[in-house]
Symmetry: C2
Subunit: 395 residues, 2 copies
Amino acid sequence: MTKNIFENFSNNSPKGESFVPVQRAKYDFAVAYPDPESIPIDGLTNSISEALSREGKDLAIYPDKQGYPPLRQFVAEKLLLERQIPLESNEIILTSGSNQAIYMTAEILLDPGDVVITDDFLYSGTINIFQRFGAKILGIPSNNLGIDVECLEKNIKKLTKEKNKPKLIYLIPTFQNPQGWSLDLEKRKQIVLISKKYSIPILEDDCYVDLSFYGENLPSIKSLDPECDVIYVGSFSKTIAPGMRMGFLTAPEEYLNRLRRILPSGGVNQFASLAIYHYSKNSLPSHIESINKILLNKKNTMISALEEYFGKNAKWNNPNGGLYIWVKLPKHSDTSIAEPIAFNQNVGFLPGVLFSADGFSGKNKMRLCFGFNQPKEIQEGIKKLSNVFYELDYL
Amino acid sequence: MTKNIFENFSNNSPKGESFVPVQRAKYDFAVAYPDPESIPIDGLTNSISEALSREGKDLAIYPDKQGYPPLRQFVAEKLLLERQIPLESNEIILTSGSNQAIYMTAEILLDPGDVVITDDFLYSGTINIFQRFGAKILGIPSNNLGIDVECLEKNIKKLTKEKNKPKLIYLIPTFQNPQGWSLDLEKRKQIVLISKKYSIPILEDDCYVDLSFYGENLPSIKSLDPECDVIYVGSFSKTIAPGMRMGFLTAPEEYLNRLRRILPSGGVNQFASLAIYHYSKNSLPSHIESINKILLNKKNTMISALEEYFGKNAKWNNPNGGLYIWVKLPKHSDTSIAEPIAFNQNVGFLPGVLFSADGFSGKNKMRLCFGFNQPKEIQEGIKKLSNVFYELDYL
């Protein structure tokens, strides 16, 4: 039977090398972990105990497909207060992390050959999702104020003329992953106008907005104009824990209707929803305040270490929030070559090409995440990493 | 912008009426709830407290994409012991309920127009999944020993001749939903031979096997022949709680490789995985024993009530496990007409047509679930339901 195996699979089933579990370095600047010391273990334990004693029998019931209503109400109130997005809780869908929210959005919008416009560099997991639906990714150059809006519109015009109008503009406007910048307010407004002019919806991925070290955030794109079709995605992964797998989305009603029809029948994890809701209603704001102090300290440590060990041939941004520093090494550098060498020295980072919309740019760039290690380790790890780059003649 | 809205969506995005939240009757024989009094609330609370105090910091880490390794190991040992399926834990993928396991299997196997062979009546959620991938469902008649194997092979032969060989045989061989029977051992063996002869994989959905009231189960299809391509799916929804959203699958390596490539990047819910693992390793076997006593009592109560109130014009099976009784009313009955009338009397059930593979058979049939209500309520509810049917002249 095995000889015929390949005819058994669907045409779009991705092939390729077998899955390799992620390996982790001691100095792990690679994966986007929050601070493990700040996981609110006692808070979650108390919350789930309280929730189960009150509502545990409800676990017998297949959960609401859009997700646990009190948690949706909590998200609605948070989005009104902090992102100026007025919502009913029925306009919110809880998802298994932001990943499922982006996946579902791609599923209702994209057909093979469709174009999705993104930043020049973005999280590779998101690129993979769009590619799963056969989409072509068009990355637009950005600087420290975000995407080049003129170039964005020029490309939309050109593609529209070629009868291949983009189906979606995907943006992480706040503390962008991996580049760390926040999209300028004026640019946010211009993009809203472009979205309306060409009738192309925006997917605003606002997963990092809570990790704002200095307290102020630019308005969400979704809040700027209720007439603009913005699908808005958020997450508890960076504020409570990735292992809780809890994200959410909201969108204009026409989109919500399509999304509701593809929801898995069991909805999102009810057990985790109970814990997150009971924890968040009392403790989330103060918890976020405390993790931002910790992250600011870690970021400052990493910036100081870069200044001390990386010298003047490398450049990096100094983000106001989020988890990432985006480093540019001299042009001849190749971070994909350096990555396994650094890993042998117990230092992990992600090479820039992993994030490139075109699949090949970013050879001399890399993403460092300052969330996981403690400050002393950050200092040690950056020193070790600089040694790797010096030996490769990159610094 | 709204006038152009429909051009924004993908061609396969399901349209249709807006989502209506499920309404529940007091006597809820409709949805497949387990006994709410048996949700192991204290056990889960203690388990998650223990797990978080030991491993809570690991929530900071994006979980293993295949799922929490100790829980996979637990599942491997359980499947070896109880279903005679020898496995490494790396051959198991944890999923968000069995729903995601079936969805992912459909995703790697099915292209639009492909045929999936099923029982004549099966869970509508599964039908929906196959249809989402554009598959045609071909239901094969069954009796109280399960699917008609001769008819199965005749159809495969015919379709193969028409160059449309079925891509998948989907079966719930044990305590079938909604029909309650278990597939006869001889038929299991014949189906394995057919699967190999025509090179068509089997998806064995074994979600109900733990709910075995008399302790003995027929061997799993997967255990009968390691050369047969069987994707095997199980779940904790019926033994611990649906709200935990925890299922699992295993499959031959070629299938696992495809499945690993479409796993969501965050894996299954880690928080729920921790609770389930720490609960299950000590308590699952005794918990299953105790819920089976409760369910057997409820089943016997429902059977007695049917005998008392439904008289001789209706027929039903008396299952050895699972959650369902499948009732056949006289031919002129229409359970879709009766359903809203019964609902007004606070009795819920699901009409047979909801389960029919062809979308129209089963007009005079219905599924009763005896899991949710307490015995006294079961008796009351069946009496009320019989009154509805008498007034409609169905009994």
